[in-house]
Assembly symmetry: C2
DNA sequence: GTCTATATGGGGATAGAC
DNA sequence: GTCTATCCCCATATAGAC
């Protein structure tokens, strides 16, 4: 038997493997990782139960593969947009709007090519930020580490007067806006009576960029308590 | 046997019942609803497995009871703070900061009396906003309905020039800031190297109020696409 | 109200034939 | 690579003694 890196645990391009990844993505997005069984996945994919362990070794490894397949191209596009924003600024600090848009747009624009995939990936990632599983969040944030530094550095340059701790707080708030919008898109559509949905992708991106940038630029305020001491 | 409403399905003040609620809250917050079994809960509570079904009828009903016990007093305090903000304004629109603070402060201030309970409830609620379970989110938002209208109305008065759909989007973003901060508190502490944590409760509240109010007040911007048409 | 024991079903993972 | 059959464990829920 020919042994390459690809087929040590199943070929990376096997049709069965792809069908499992697609079915798992759909079910994980719809029901969550924990509530989705391998039996549901293989039934949906139309493959044999044992195929999951052959191609992915374990459910945890399958979860990581599902996340990795989508997050990697998205993060590459984020870094490309960030590089573009940095180039555009020509030595000056990059524009805050461009940095925030570089973070947000790639994941939302998935909906333009394929709304089904876009919605699934949005739900998947939006929920992963709050997932209680011991393996899921570390796996996800492991993939996010490669973009954390470049984005932090760009934001630091765009907002030079913001103390470091305050910058991290506001980045955290901004990620919350994104995560909650991705995970809660269906719910907003319901409570708004259809007034708000994610079909106008570019409009939603600009709404989020607008909101987050305003929050990031908010003047520091002195308030009751030890607020200013902890910056 | 004396039959009152309270003891039709176990007394509401039974010690066993309380121990189950406490253990369930801890485990749900730590591992999530799906990954927590009744066996873990009864082991942690030091009670018999069958006691859960006696006191709560089912796991779903227990989940709802755990959520309800905490959300009800929090929502009462939110409404009280909102009423105070409205009174203070004396006929004029209430101050935006006061409205946002009324929404955010009660759940964060739980940490002041008891950091353990506060953290658990924060994780529980923060994650519930993104929970994939078919029963969890509806149950949670059913409890939130009683505060949705008063807060929406107050915000509409405080931001009269904001179109209705835009207000809903920004409320959604604001909730995202709160939910993600509650659910991701531990993670922010780690990635910030301890620079950011939730122990300075009032400081965190004011940071969030500051960020959200700036986002809510952001000028509308015309951007590429159909942004302004969809307001 | 609380216990033991059990009914009933589903979970992840694997062995070994093909 | 794919299948069947199975191991072993855990889930929720309930019946019925105490």
């Amino acid at each position: 038997m020919k042994r390459t890196i690809e087929n040590e645990v199943g070929s990376n391009h096997s049709l069965t493997r792809q069908r499992i990844l697609d079915a798992a993505e759909t079910l994980f997005a719809e029901k969550g990782f924990e509530a989705t069984s391998l039996r549901m996945i293989t039934a949906e994919a139309g493959v044999n139960l044992a195929a999951v362990n052959y191609h992915f070794r374990s459910k945890d490894a399958l979860i990581d593969a599902v996340i990795a397949r989508r997050i990697q191209p998205i993060n590459q596009e984020r870094l490309a947009m960030l590089a573009e924003a940095t180039d555009k600024a020509a030595g000056r600090p990059p524009e805050l709007e461009d940095i925030v848009r570089a973070m947000i747009a790639p994941v939302l624009r998935l909906r333009q090519r394929d709304p089904g995939v876009g919605r699934r990936v949005g739900l998947l990632f939006g929920r992963t930020y709050a997932d209680p599983n011991e393996m899921v969040r570390p796996a996800f944030f492991n993939h996010m580490r490669e973009i954390f530094r470049p984005f932090t550095e760009a934001l630091r340059r765009a907002l030079p007067s913001l103390p470091p701790a305050e910058l991290l707080w506001r980045m955290h708030f901004g990620v919350g806006v994104m995560a909650h919008t991705l995970a809660g898109c269906d719910h907003l559509q319901v409570i708004s009576g259809g007034l708000c949905d994610l079909s106008d992708v570019e409009g939603v991106i600009e709404r989020m960029v607008n909101f987050i940038c305003a929050g990031m630029r908010a003047p520091l305020v002195a308030q009751p308590g030890r607020y200013l001491e902890n910056l």
